[in-house]
Symmetry: C2
Subunit: 321 residues, 2 copies
DNA sequence: TTGTACGCGTTATCAC
DNA sequence: GTGATAACGCGTACAA
């Protein structure tokens, strides 16, 4: 349409090679007028770079993950990349299928919050950067890791409750991702042992599948009705804390007077609950931002560290006062 | 590697043409052993179908949108499609850029929760189906629309409060998407007028930019301190309702005794707040599911209706009792 | 039942 | 400063 060859058009579009100012203007005008949009599939085929990245996470409904997704999206958009979002629903199988799918989509890199215990290193055929958030695979791979020190947070929480005089502590473990949960419960156990407080298996409560407010409420009521006493609860989500408070209320126990409770993730719910809930802030925005930056640097062949750690903060509110 | 031509491999992979059982097994074995992943860019270039779809929405951090995204993802995954998720942050400009980007990515279809008043019909060059959620553009286009009757919900809420004796009502309008907000405030106004209740502009409170709990709290306090009286509030988010309750509490007013309040979207917060908050359930899951189904049908050249409406329900809790 | 050859839209190389 | 052309990997028509 501009009366020039495809080669020249390509040069103008990508600002490569040489062309006259006149040609450039004419080509750009035609592109604008005709609404021409280049075919990314062809570009990708030729250049083996698709200008897309993949984000694999358990569930976009979880605000913690949604926060990460949001910041990753905003960073990738700035860099003219498009983002595939992949929910695994904590299924290792679905996660593997998505790795393969993203591979076939020629994504230039992947950020993953994995639900697998081990990530095998031939998970993608092409040699693209993979950033792992908040999981440290037992096998050693050439992946970049963005770690959150939530285990340290759990440890500090437990210590805090012990210092406040709690001796009958309970740890609530979600039914999902046993890998993460076992690391976290180990921090709980470690803190108790260091203070020479005895602990038995029942004190680690594994929730059944279901809505965690309800399941926690039920679990706490059952636990106490079975003759156990409680004066402190460490939760692995704020919703669990809300459920726990409801369960205790049902039994006439007061928070924080009778039982002190820690939640997890500093969600809006923890801030507006009555009582307000002490919790851990994991800074998902910083985690996501770091992951996106590191991935983009990796894609652009810059040197990146193999390991980044994002510190948590404990936020004390009414539920542990 | 299997000792056959590429054509035969292609036939086996796509189950097209004819080939011997023996060849099929051999080829499949080699594919498995070598971890071969086909190049979607090439397939897409050839077939002009990428097996991807795009989802454009204001912000994945909003649970309502996250719910929609989640169900759309799950549906598309089932159909072996990958999903681009695009946040517009309510910027019409970013939305347009994403339309173009998705077009160049050769997506097979787009679901959009738009923040534009009008969607121009040459927004994408290629003739692909576009599903519009919860927005009815003023210009007439050949788009499929999934509508939520939230306006009717607002109308019913207002009527409900009037029937309960409220006469000094206020409508809280978020600072975003004026298009949607004006439709909603019109429903509020309509209900008041039908009951011959006078209304002035001040009763429609437009929040400034910022975290809606805080901004609403401030706005309500200011409104009352300016000498206005309130006995009912219609909010356009549950967080606004939480902020309103906080503001009223600050001034010594009780909910629902002194002021009755409706929230929006039946979030977890509305369920756990004290008092619990009456709200509207818009069924994001059904909206998302419908959008995904209709889009997939459209892509597969099935006939679909141009318009679907998902009904809302009003949920009454303590805040309006 | 299998193989050959072409074309999809783009970029890179090289000739003019 | 510009244009012709090969190559990217896949799907398919047609030939064998």
């Amino acid at each position: 349409m501009a009366g020039v060859s495809v080669a020249t058009v390509s040069h103008v579009m990508n600002n490569t090679g040489r062309f006259s100012k006149e040609t450039e203007l004419k080509v750009k005008q035609v592109i604008k007028d005709s609404g021409f949009v280049f075919n990314n599939a062809a570009r990708s085929l030729k250049s083996s770079s698709s200008h897309t990245i993949g984000l694999i996470l358990p569930n976009i409904n979880n605000p913690f993950f949604a926060n990460i997704a949001s910041i990753v999206e905003s960073y990738t958009f700035e860099h003219d990349y498009a983002l595939f979002v992949c929910n695994t629903n904590n299924s290792a199988d679905k996660e593997k299928q998505y790795f393969k799918k993203l591979d076939s989509m020629q994504v230039d890199g992947i950020i993953v919050i994995s639900c697998q215990k081990e990530i095998v290193d031939d998970i993608v055929q092409r040699n693209i950067p993979i950033i792992l958030i908040d999981r440290t695979p037992t096998n050693n791979m050439n992946l970049t890791i963005i770690a959150s020190d939530a285990e340290e947070g759990i440890y500090q929480e437990t210590k805090t409750l012990i210092n406040k005089g709690c001796r009958n502590l309970v740890f609530i473990s979600s039914f999902l991702s046993t890998y993460t949960n076992s690391n976290r419960s180990n921090s709980f156990i470690k803190a108790l042992k260091e203070s020479n407080i005895e602990i038995n298996d029942e004190q680690i409560i594994h929730l059944p599948q279901g809505e965690s407010i309800i399941t926690t409420e039920t679990a706490i009521v059952e636990y106490i009705n079975s003759g156990n006493t409680i004066d402190g609860i460490i939760c692995t989500s704020d919703n669990q804390a809300i459920g726990a408070i409801a369960g205790l209320k049902q039994l006439g126990l007061k928070v924080p007077e009778d039982v002190k409770i820690f939640g997890f993730d500093n969600t809006l719910q923890s801030q507006i609950s009555t009582p307000t809930i002490s919790t851990i802030e994991r800074y998902p925005t910083i985690i996501g931002q770091t992951a996106a930056e590191v991935l983009m640097d990796s894609i652009n062949k810059k040197e990146v560290n193999p390991y980044y750690e994002i510190k948590c903060s404990i936020i004390e509110r009414q539920s542990t006062n």
